[in-house]
Amino acid sequence: MTDMDKIKKVVIFGSGPIVIGQACEFDYSGTQACKALMGLGLEVVLINSNPATIMTDPDLATKVYVEPLKAPFVRKILEAEKPDAIIPTLGGQTALNLALELDADGTLKELDIRMLGSTRETIEAAEDREKFRALLDRVGGKYCRSELVRNFADGIAAGKDLGFPIILRPNYTLGGGGGGIAYSQEEYERMLANALQESPTSEVLVEESILGWKEYELEVMRDKNGTFVVICSIENFDPCGVHTGDSITIAPQQTLTDRQYQDMRDEARKIVDAVGLETGGANIQFAVNPDNGERIVIEMNPRVSRSSALASKATGFPIAKIAALVAMGHTLDEITNDITKTTPSCYEPALDYVVTKIPRFAFEKFEGTKDLLTTQMKSVGEVMSIGRTFKESLGKAISSLENYRGFEEVQFDEELISYPNSQRIFHIAQAFRDGKSVDDIHQLCQVNHWFLEQLKDIIDCELEIKKRGLNPDNILLAKRYGISDMRLADVCGLSEKEVRNLRVKHGVRPGYLRVDTCAGEFKSETPYFYSTYWSRREKREAIQDTVAILGSGPNRIGQGIEFDYSCVRGVKKFRSENNRVVMINTNPETVSTDYDTSDELFFEPLNAEYVAEVLDYTQPKGFVAQLGGQTPITIANDLVAEGYQILGSDLQTIDLAEDRALFSNLCQELNFKIPKAGIAGGINEALKIAQTINYPIMVRPSYVLGGRRMEVVENEEELRDYFTKYDKYISAPTPCLMDEFLENALEVDVDLVRGVDWVVIGGIVEHIEAAGVHSGDSMGVLPPQKLKVETTANIEKMSIDLANKMNIIGHLNLQLAVKNDQVYMIEANPRSSRSVPFVAKASRVPVVDLAVMAMLGYDKARVQPEKYDWAATEYVSVKGVVFPFKKFRDSDSILGPEMKSTGECMGRGKEYSDALLKALISSQNFLPKEGEVFLSLRDKDKDILLSSIKQLSEMGYSLTATSGTAKYLKDHGLNVEVIKKVHEGRPHCVDRIRSGDIALVINTTSGRRSIEASFGIRRSCIDYSVPCITERQAALATILALRSQRDGTISVSPLEKMI
């Protein structure tokens, strides 16, 4: 420890905005590591641009910087903080790449900062595929026949040698970005070009296919003395060919013999030593030929990863915490196992249960994208579940996904078994239902027999119940097989309630077992539980002042890490107010599912059945549904019906917000302006309504989630088109909702908290894009930059009036729009919101803490609401947004009423332009300092953008434009080159984007036809990583930021503590 004693101050890098392949698991790892390092008495400085994280809570570390994870900004922070060391292994690929850059440019050396956990050599040995292969040769590891190619011609030659299918893996990309499997020459050529482009080093590994092999992963840990442990073995349900993040996986591995497993373990150890990983966690992926046991190494990550989060939750071994401690020179035998409190951490967890992870996908959000799984990750979240057997755990995992009732019956499609896709397991189940054999199905999908046999057992059990009806024995068996009450109800033609009553009548209730790392060998008091029907329920006494907080389940577009922030902050506040907290959640990537976040953790599906059982077992005084997003709100009704108390706003209040009719009545009573609206069951009715509303009109089918199929129609023709297109979704019983579209209106989000006799406004976020872009996809700024003072006051007053009228207790999130100084009330959500963590960090108002006080019934005298002034901040904070279009070939990046973003970032500065620049740098990756700006604008935006475009020209950017735009700009004295539109012949604008000549694109458009016509522009920008702005307000903001970038110096500042 001698040289480590000198280390007093450590910097941890986060992973930035949530993107596919790098999500909130790094919030979990950063948070856990931070707690561990603070526990050692170190000063910890966190840097992350993502405000939705718990790790950026100003209470967690010594200092928190919400700044771009880019070398110039980070260097500035390092200069100011003068840390002794950085730990780059906890923030995913982003943090590793950043550390490499700071090492390469000499910053670390110059400032005398050590890199702990990993070194440049280690990172390169593991990540540079040629170096890694040389290393495998040394230790006798095998790998796929493959070739590293650096240009197209070599790639084509290599392809000829390898034969199809061929796997492409670009170097140094996260989540396998730009990679994939090519089955034909044509496909290969296209993918090769793209992969070369994607790799920052223009290197692509093309390799022979090992499709059909079994895939495994080992999560390992090493300390400075060379003590090596395997924390968890993971086996993939899907055979090789699917990114492990997109595979259904289980832990521990089930189908390797001990010899095969120990061979793999030995090889993992050799690799870790050879890579030179001195301390910390790593994962190594293997493939095993099911026919002869032959094994190859797929890859290694010398850092904490997505699977580390899963492995931590699956075993109870806190990987990130231990990784941080061993990085500081502690050894595994010195660190006590937190769970048993008596044994050391240099052991390998023994599990007496099976863990299943299922990814959650969002294909429906990206029109035109095929639901096809490849080596490039596409899932947006995941669920994990624990059961005593694979069947039980699989069933619970399916329930955890929230969007399935179980193995629902589907229209069998053999093709959907024969290639990997998100629906495959349901079609396999259906195949069994239709009488296919294990061998038949294995032939089609190559999924291991063992898994298929397990699935068949589940379906056989369902079929038996269908035939005989429910009895005490088969209910118990069904529950042990993980079949939900909902699914049993569907199988038997009963209601879920009837099944539940029958089950309870027969005494079939789950017991709760502890996750204890040691299969019961040692006594453990750690309150981390899972339910199982393999164990009897022990009665326990209710413990006073217990509250249950329902989490937000798997991340998905529209409901992500922001809600885990609310939950975790809520847990802390309830605990500091002397309540015991029972946390229920099913997302392994989160901080809320860390066993030391709450007093008791139940890793359970968030549906009424499983949550009610936990409430029955733990007997809290109430449950909290307003912190975990829409998921808990959806089941609140059922839980109240079962007799459990909801804390905060009651069901009536929730209904007022959720029911459109009730809500608009309420607004009318308060004399609020609301957009004109109507409901049409068919086109004729719609045309009539259109006359009263006036175009443009926002249209959407009823019963849609997250803005699905929501569009703005500009005229009658488009309205007719819309009804033709979505004919099958619209009918008298499921009508089309039509709302006046407040064109060019300014939208705002309000987050407030109301207690019995008080209200605190957490903040007002002004959207940067005009109305029409989903609030989750629009950039935002706090404090507002455009709103007049009196309008802001009016918004505050309306918000408070509404909260009082609705009798809100706790959180209320509102969306309002401002047009011609008139304020319209658009929507209310009686819960914490996506914007809460951003608002709290920008305004310093501890919004969630206040909501907890409200739920606990604290009055004005106790809360002192007057202390909290959201507008009193001297900083401007801008929320930036990141999108996953790159992963979804053929999807359009134009923004609209349907949310598509996966994550957000925050830029802070004394000036708006400075904050804006940082937000854009964090979300766009880079903004060009010079070069060609290509413009294609719709008519109504031209005047508004003109002066900003002039500034672009003055800053030295050259301008090109499509003919109409170019003519307009020329008429206004600008020097513009005309570029052809796609249909005008070649070379056209898309060619020019592809050739790399264009640095920035501003393309605003509206109306279905123009949108379709300009699709190629936006898509090529996505494919070739050219920033593309599709909305005029965003364009203005971007040009402002470009100016700031030109004249500004970089300034950084830590977050201020909450009020």
């Binding site: 189908t255 001990d258 007496d352």
Partner: protein, 355 residues
């Protein structure tokens, strides 16, 4: 209809689903390994024991005669939550039935483990009966009968004659393997490194061993209480200082006793593939495979005997060395099977002292 139980002596009955008609008594022990069920079932150290696997799903990867640790099945019962039974032709369950091992599944293994952990190792029996009372009575009979047999368990599993096995390394040493119920993988590891291996019965005298002119003696693993294996202790005493000795598991305990140490019964033993052991001599930590119910007491060791390894879970003695008499031993299984191979170099250490 008959029900099936695991009856714990002076304790509760756990109901399970019977997978065959066999009934047997034995000491109830649990093992936390995730894999290696077939190695475990054929390990002679599990003689007279009913094996409760904590890992819930057994039989997943089928069977393989090559992994047997002896020529037969030694366990007196196999209990797991879920045992794979499928149309595949060769299954683990068929194999257990074939060797007349009583099998229970769909039983609260966690409950059994917790009971054993809290109350200590217990005897019990797998029986089929109409109710718990009948089950308890049947179990007690079986337990008494099994218990009344010869106490020197290694003597019951050992070979009766001296066997010679040719090693693969012509210039390697000639060694003696004292068979207290050795695992085949110990022999495999020796074959890799030796020219000839004499496998001798557990009650072989020092004189007989000396006549074999071996350069080292390996004391094997084996079942039961080392205090009941008195004959071998005398043999070891006579060999000490004359021929280098390496003891594994039972062999370690017997070496300890021969060196003057005491052995004691652990509350519920160590059985699994995840036990951390520290080599005090070089600070290295191994994750080891373990299977023992007794341990050597640290107190009262003679001054020339040092503790070389400790179990980091409970600080018990996990290895001894007596350099002055060229003897050393480990409580765990460097030959693994099942379990990690971190400590396999101990065999090289042994070969190095066989001069």
């Amino acid at each position: 209809m008959d029900k099936s139980y695991l009856v714990i002596e002076n304790g509760p009955c756990f109901a399970g689903v019977k997978r065959n008609d066999h009934e047997k008594a034995g000491e109830i022990v649990f093992n936390t390994s995730h894999s290696g069920y077939e190695e475990i079932a054929t390990d002679p150290s599990y003689f007279n024991q009913i094996m409760v696997m904590t890992a819930p799903m057994m039989g997943n990867y089928g069977i393989d005669n090559d992994v047997w640790e002896s020529e037969q099945y030694y366990i007196n019962g196999f209990i797991a939550l879920d045992i794979q039974e499928t149309g595949r032709d060769q299954t683990w369950l068929h194999r257990l039935n074939e060797f007349k091992v009583p099998v229970l599944s769909e039983i609260d293994t966690r409950g059994i483990v917790t009971y054993i952990r809290d109350r200590g190792a217990s005897w019990g029996a797998i029986v089929h009966a109409s109710d718990e009372n009948e089950a308890k009575q049947k179990a007690q009979e079986l337990i008494s009968e099994t218990r009344s047999q010869e106490k020197d368990w290694p003597f019951r599993v050992t070979t009766r004659t001296i066997e010679e096995v040719k090693g693969d390394k012509a210039d390697g040493p000639r060694v003696c393997l004292m068979n207290f119920g050795y695992k085949r993988n110990i022999l495999r590891e020796l074959k890799k490194r030796c020219s000839l291996i004499h496998i001798v019965p557990s009650r072989t005298t020092a004189k007989e061993i000396k006549e074999l002119k071996v350069q080292g003696v390996l004391l094997s693993n084996g079942p039961g209480d080392p205090a009941d294996v008195e004959f071998a202790v005398d043999t070891i005493k006579d060999l000490l200082g004359e021929i280098p000795i390496f003891g594994i598991c039972m062999g370690h305990q017997l070496l300890g006793r021969a060196l003057g140490a005491k052995t004691f019964k652990l509350k519920f033993g160590h059985r699994g593939a995840n036990h951390p052991v520290k080599d005090i001599r070089n600070g290295q930590i191994y994750v080891t495979s373990q299977n023992h119910g007794y341990a050597v007491e640290e107190k009262g060791l003679p001054t020339d005997v040092k503790v070389s390894h400790i179990n980091l879970n409970d600080q018990t003695v996990s290895g001894l060395e007596c350099p002055s008499r060229s003897a050393f031993s480990v409580q765990f299984h460097p030959e693994s099977h099942p379990g990690p191979r971190d400590a396999v170099t101990l065999f090289d250490e042994f070969i190095n002292v066989c001069k």
